[in-house]
Amino acid sequence: MPAEDMGKLSDKLRLTFAVSTVVCVLVLAISPVKDFRAEWKHYKRAYVKFAQGRSDTKRLLGDYTMEIDQIWLPTMNVTDRCMTCHQGIAQPSLADSSVPQPFRAHPSIPHNIREWGCTICHRGQGPATEVAEAHKTTLAWEQPLLPARFLQASCGSCHQADIKEAPQLARGRELLSYLNCQGCHRLNTVDRSRLGPDLSSVGYKVSREWIYKWLKEPRTVLDKDGNTTVNGYENGDESRMPKFRLKEEEIRALSGFLSVQKAKPIEVYKINPAVVSAWSKNPELLSQGELRFRQMMCTTCHPLAVTRAGETKLIGGNIGPELTKIGSKVNKAWLIAWLRDPKSYLPNTSMPQYRWSDEDLYKVSEYVTSKLSDSDLFSNVPQLGAPTEEEIQTGKRLFTDKGCSSCHVLNGAPTQKDFGPDLTALGRKNASELEFSKSKIERNLVSYIQAKLQDPVSVNPAARMPQYSWNQEDLDAVTTALLSQTGPPPTSALQHLVIPKKETAFQVVGAFAQVFERYKCYACHRFNGYGGTLAPDLSYEGSRAQKKWIAEFLKNPQTIRPALILRMPQFNMSDKDAQVAAEYLSLVLQKPDVDPESVDVRQFTPAMAAKGKQLYEVKYECQSCHTIGATGGYVGPNLNNAGNWLTPAWIEAWLRNPQALLPDTLEPRRNFTEEEIRALTAYLLTLRTGIKTQSVKSAGNLHSLAQGAGR
């Protein structure tokens, strides 16, 4: 380089400097431009524009700033920036569906959105400020938004007890319990399951052929037409025994093994020969048997397939097993022993012990074994004969390997625990934590759960989980309940947020304990939160019903609610049992704030009763829901015998506030004055059975109703 050029810049160097300066400025400018063009700022500006086009601009822009809005709940690990874009979320005037998203207001919910934020319920990524990252799964952010139809799952993370706002979740939990998913999986917040039957003496009950058929296709045994849609769908319930994918030789081995399970011999009862000879030739035998079967209301607990107008439907309760083909299933000697004393075969059964006369026992058992049967049941079952020793040994091994012992007890051995994976934290898993193997399922939690429920093999070819067949509603309900299994709260500081399920127990003492256990009152009725939900809650029966009425009702139950399909069975209860139960119910099951002394019946005059009748029929038109005589609706109980049935104190308390006595009752709370309440009570107490009113129309309706209801 020449000396005179030293210190001077060549043109080339100048150009380089110029270019690099421009580049440098550009690079420095990228950040502010990127910031200006950020997705969230776009929505911020759009919101201002939107608000300015409306009449309530000032209120909509009241707390507007060009910043990220954030809800921060450090104890819950929640940072929600959703409101940065969803700016109108708490503006009631933006609730209309014509308001464009993301500005629409949130529907009103029991929780304050400003206090709790969005991701606790909707999941997704709270801290994200871009649409895709907030709502979907990206490489770095794995938790996608929960699809709206499973949203009730989030309620279940805190509300372990069922709430009425989340019926889908409640149904899902009910199914998890009903299908005994806890037999194999660990689950939270699901009721204690009902196990499958104890198989220790199953060899006395059914044949090897029946077991073979049942294992091969548990559903078609229940089905009359050879298709599987009758059971489960029409009735809304899944079959409790799922289908296991068993090979032919496995079915043979298992059926062989089970058919030799004869731990405790049944007690063979010989029906009085005089009764048998008097009835066996009588052409009325089976129709009389059917009549007694119906009168005893077996179908309150057991479903039965009924074909009416070409359509086959299961009708009846779901507490006991389906009985359509029971006659081809069980052995007659077993049936008689079972009916006489169910506890001796299954110690934990919910089947009540009826009091049988030999005549009833003969008629009903003949009806069940000959009419509730199907001669074609075993048409495609091969002749199996006695099992070989090898089959028995293989069956024994399979019983454990296939997980049968998770639901069924055998020879007193406790059921197997944790056969399947622990699901208590399934609901908060990310897609990367799930085993999709090579399946073609969309990589997210919801798709995984639904695929696994519908067809376990589609997710994992080696799955041991049996095959269920769900309708869409139940599938979604179970998915919701599984998504709600989010494990314990992340920090102990959050423990107080969990609203636990109340554990209830109802202890009965004294002479009533035997009656209670014998007739299994708790299988259908609820007592202080314990027991079934099929029949009315009896927690306060002593305050509600008169003692004499209870005793009479137990001996000869009558229908109080005409709309009900399922009714109280007739147990042929002895006078002593009925008396003991009535004493106990009326003494112990009292509502403390309904004081039986508070109403003095002597104050009621015929004039008051007449006024009450006037109020009942004209002013309040109670007959729209209640029936007296043959007139009225059937939404509420019929009041024909109200004077003998209800206690005066209960009637008054009920008229004041029905929900205070039974929170779930349909009867709306009215604005009766105290005088009206007294008059109505006086009137209702005059109602005793035997009242005749002439309304042909309503009587006809009620008749058709009773038919339509299936009984």
């Binding site: 869409q472 509603e473 979604d476 729209s624 939404v635 506030n657 709306p668």
Partner: protein, 166 residues
């Protein structure tokens, strides 16, 4: 030599900076939700049960309340089977009867349910639910009625609103 290096370093270092700031944005693969909905957020059209009507949050809560309290008289089929509707004179309107209900405002229906038929000069057979259901619950039942109405319910437009239905 050293003076030549500085711009070169600047240039070289700016390249990844530009690349970094421009290239880190990527769209995740779109996942379209499946179009089947359970019964808690849909209701079949009562006049044509093959059609499903989608329900929002308030409407689905309303559906739940309707099927607990109202269905017995305001539908022809009930969870127990037949309906009490035909027992009553005058016959209560079906909940989806748009011809009868679309003309009534939300406020009127809210009053009707809260105060009962008698208070508004209609049949006393419609009892008041104001002390049994909360105003929110009643609102949700109305929202449900609006959602399933046949012929469909049209929201009255707010005068002067840019978002009034055209």
């Amino acid at each position: 030599m050293r003076k030549k290096l500085i711009p070169a370093i600047l240039l070289v270092s700016s390249v990844p900076a530009i690349l970094f700031s421009a290239g880190c944005k990527k769209e995740p693969p779109g996942n379209s939700a499946t179009a089947t909905f359970g019964a808690y957020d849909t209701e079949p059209d009562w006049n044509d049960t093959s059609k499903l009507i989608k329900l929002g949050y308030a409407e689905s809560q309303g559906k739940h309340i309707f099927y607990t309290y109202c269905v017995w008289c305001h539908a022809d089929a009930t969870p127990a089977g037949p309906s009490n509707r035909s027992n009553l004179t005058p016959m209560p309107p079906l909940l989806n009867d748009g011809d009868k209900l679309n003309g009534e405002s939300d406020e009127y229906l809210q009053n009707m349910i809260t105060l009962g038929g008698g208070a508004l000069g209609k049949s006393e057979m419609m009892p008041p639910y104001g002390k049994t259901l909360t105003p929110e619950e009643i609102k949700s039942v109305i929202a449900f009625a609006r959602a399933i109405a046949q012929p469909p319910y049209q929201k009255p437009g707010r005068p002067g609103s840019a978002y009034a239905p055209k």
